[in-house]
Subunit: 341 residues, 3 copies
């Protein structure tokens, strides 16, 4: 990608403040799938607009852009690290908050105020979660988006002016019925791309294709990992007997796609052992997806990308240190003893 246009762009970025702002915002979009690349980011936004307008929900596309702008501006107002800001690190949670709220809550003027507050808060939460997980050498992933948005959508149960539109109804989890898969080749291919599209909460095949192309622009490995992760997630979901509807909508795949990109191409150096490790991570992500779906049933909120976050944290934190504390040699002094001895 170090072609002439890329060079010209990076010259403009340093010369013109307006270009820099656009560059920052696009990178924020790209960072949702770990890509520090403005072209990837702009393609993601195009994919979101395509999918959301097709579904008659243009507010999702607008929300995403508003969330992106607000969260990035908040980082600037709070004086958070300029280099990170320039890489879009403070934008990728905001764009997801902005896409999620109009997807699940009733859209009216008040929602936009709520969305602006939520996107601003997501930047603070991003820095907090980053500082916490920095302790173990891992990033915040999309946890700030999930945590912030959980609070915001739960508000629909507490606040009359925060209207629920399509949240799942709170209910006790029930044993599943046997699924009746009826996936031909075409449906299967569609699911592979829907799994990718659902990273931004969009159920649209073309959006998924645009997203994979966007990844390829920045990293071939990431594009391949996204489709392999998608395929492995689909296979795992079918073998486990996940709900046919959810599987077909891509809801058992989007977290797994992120896990595959993160473990397989971003945080570990690729290789056969890493591939096997990432595959185990993807399979585990599908299990966590089903488990969290059930665990959240009684409070009627979606998991968002938390299955990805949990699985990836658990598979990434070991990277730093592979030697746990042993059980026996740790005879600690008791406080009071230390005092009196």
């Amino acid at each position: 990608m170090r072609l002439q246009p890329a060079k010209a762009w990076s010259t403009s970025v340093s010369d013109h403040r307006a270009v820099r702002v656009v560059d920052t915002l696009c990178r924020g979009s790209g960072q949702v799938m770990f890509q520090n690349n403005p072209v990837t980011g702009i393609l993601f936004i195009i994919g979101i607009w395509w999918g959301s307008t097709r579904a008659g929900e243009w507010e999702v596309g607008l929300g995403a852009v508003v969330g992106l702008v607000v969260s990035t501006c908040t980082a600037w107002l709070l004086g958070f690290d300029a280099q990170s800001r320039g890489q879009g690190i403070y934008g990728f949670n905001g764009i997801l908050v902005g896409a999620a709220l109009p997807s699940f809550l009733h859209v009216d003027a008040r929602l936009w105020v709520y969305l602006v507050v939520g996107a601003a808060v997501s930047t603070v939460v991003m820095q907090a979660i980053s500082n916490i997980f920095d302790t173990w050498g891992v990033t915040a992933m999309t946890a700030p988006f999930v945590i912030t948005t959980w609070f915001l959508v739960l508000g629909a149960f507490a606040f009359a002016n925060v209207g629920d539109a399509s949240l799942p109804k709170a209910a006790l989890p029930q044993p599943p019925s046997t699924p009746d898969y009826d996936f031909g080749v075409l449906t299967t291919v569609e699911i592979l791309f829907k799994n990718v599209a659902q990273v931004f909460l969009i159920e649209n095949v073309v959006t998924g294709i645009i997203f994979v192309v966007a990844l390829a622009v920045s990293s071939w490995a990431a594009a391949v990992a996204s489709l392999l992760g998608s395929a492995l997630a689909l296979g795992t979901a079918v073998l486990l007997g996940a709900s046919a509807d959810s599987t077909e909508s891509g809801l058992f795949g989007f977290s797994a796609v992120l896990t595959a990109i993160a473990l397989g191409t971003v945080f570990y150096s690729p290789g056969w052992r890493v591939a096997a490790f990432a595959a185990l991570g993807v399979i585990f992500t599908v299990i966590v997806q089903g488990a969290l779906d059930a665990a959240l049933d009684p409070i009627g909120i979606p998991t968002f990308t938390m299955p990805f976050v949990l699985a990836t944290w658990l598979f990434l934190i070991p990277h730093e240190k592979f030697r746990p504390i042993h059980h026996d040699p740790h005879k600690r002094k008791f406080a009071a003893q230390a005092d009196t001895e």
Copy 2:
């Protein structure tokens, strides 16, 4: 406050053990709102007694004192840091445990044993949570109180001798009905003070006034922040459409009051930017209050001050480091690779 009486008091404290004990206990009470000041603490206790006896629940006042004494003594028996103990750091969770249990559980002889165990445990939990959050340069806030008390009141569902008195009934969260606010000026002013009183689980206007005076004795800024936070929380709750009953009882304000004091006056140096940041924190606290109310519906326990704790942690942890780990330059070696290379 460095008047003659203050000087005389601090001389007595160093000279007389009994005075020192009283001083420690009063500071423990004051630390619930971050004030290391014995006069503030004694006024808090007076406010609790006023409110609880007015409501015919003198056991709440007694429980608070017992919890304060037991938790502080536990720190002494365990040999925990003497300086912290002298500042009341080991008392402020115990006083809240002691006030909360008789408010929600059936009061009989057995409750007092349960309360003593709970207050003692809260000191251990205080030190554990302190050590954990010290990693990111923030304090335990009232998390030890909340965690300990959640376990204790959940016991009402498991143990026949722990009788529930006024816990919310376990139920799936439901969409709220449209509130019908009927707040005149007088009611509004009352709510402002009830929001402060509810920090100690008391719904009483006079108690709230006493608490604000108690804050002013130690810090004008804290007193002002408590009322500004209270007002902002009330406005936010009404704009969001929170339940009229809960809003009028001060249940959407007490956590926000603590957030306002903590972010606005204790942990950051006051200024306009901090004021704006604290205001965002207060608004977010109200949202978290509604969200946690809904999330805890299925297990029928109150949030206590957890909305304050979560919001304040998230808004405080960024203070140390404003530069997250970036996504790209972190190619980690995989364990097995490091081994074999």
Copy 3:
């Protein structure tokens, strides 16, 4: 235990790879109760087989061994620390995953695949949780087992091919009815041993006796602590009015037994003050057991050993540092201020 056979064994271990593997696996079994001793481990496995075959559930015994082997092999494949592996540190969560799944899920061929995946994941989770809690100088305890198995059994609500066999039905928690204890001396003694047996999810008196003997082989203190903890837990449960059935099955005692061993003999140097501290920890563990039972009611999963893990972490983390951050002297610079000043 430094007799001739012990010496002969350790010579074989260094000389023969096959013996080393058996030694590692047995130590992994022993580490469930913190004993780095292969004889203890083999006796634990014998106890599991005795109890599970008596109950007509030989799959539990087989699952335990499969889980132990898979989790240990995973650590080897991933290149995790060899010394820790040799001490069985990577086996004790896997053996529990392997015993738990056939106890609660429908057993068929697919379950064994699920179990192998789960046991492999438990090793990754073990390293992640170890790295996290190493920050505060404490070990992962059995948290990796609990977290992994929670995800796996929750899968029964999401996946048609993961069949629930004996999970509790998801339900809102209800106030308990008054228990009618009818425990003679014999029943009481039986409960003391069932409390120990339930550490491995087995309800069998002989298994409990075998486990206590196994502990005594490695550490007299641990054996004594297990029975004292068991007795104190039984007394606490009865005084609190816990369900008669659950108490008699040992379900209010197994976590307490682990807490007693951990706090009383492993992590603090024994003494009267530690004994009192451990006793408070055991009482608290029983309360947490009841609380978590209620909290998990709406999602229909068992607590496993989480009450032990939470109580022991909270009682252990204070060991390192007994001085919390104080409230007042922490006037932090606000990010943006630091930037502009």
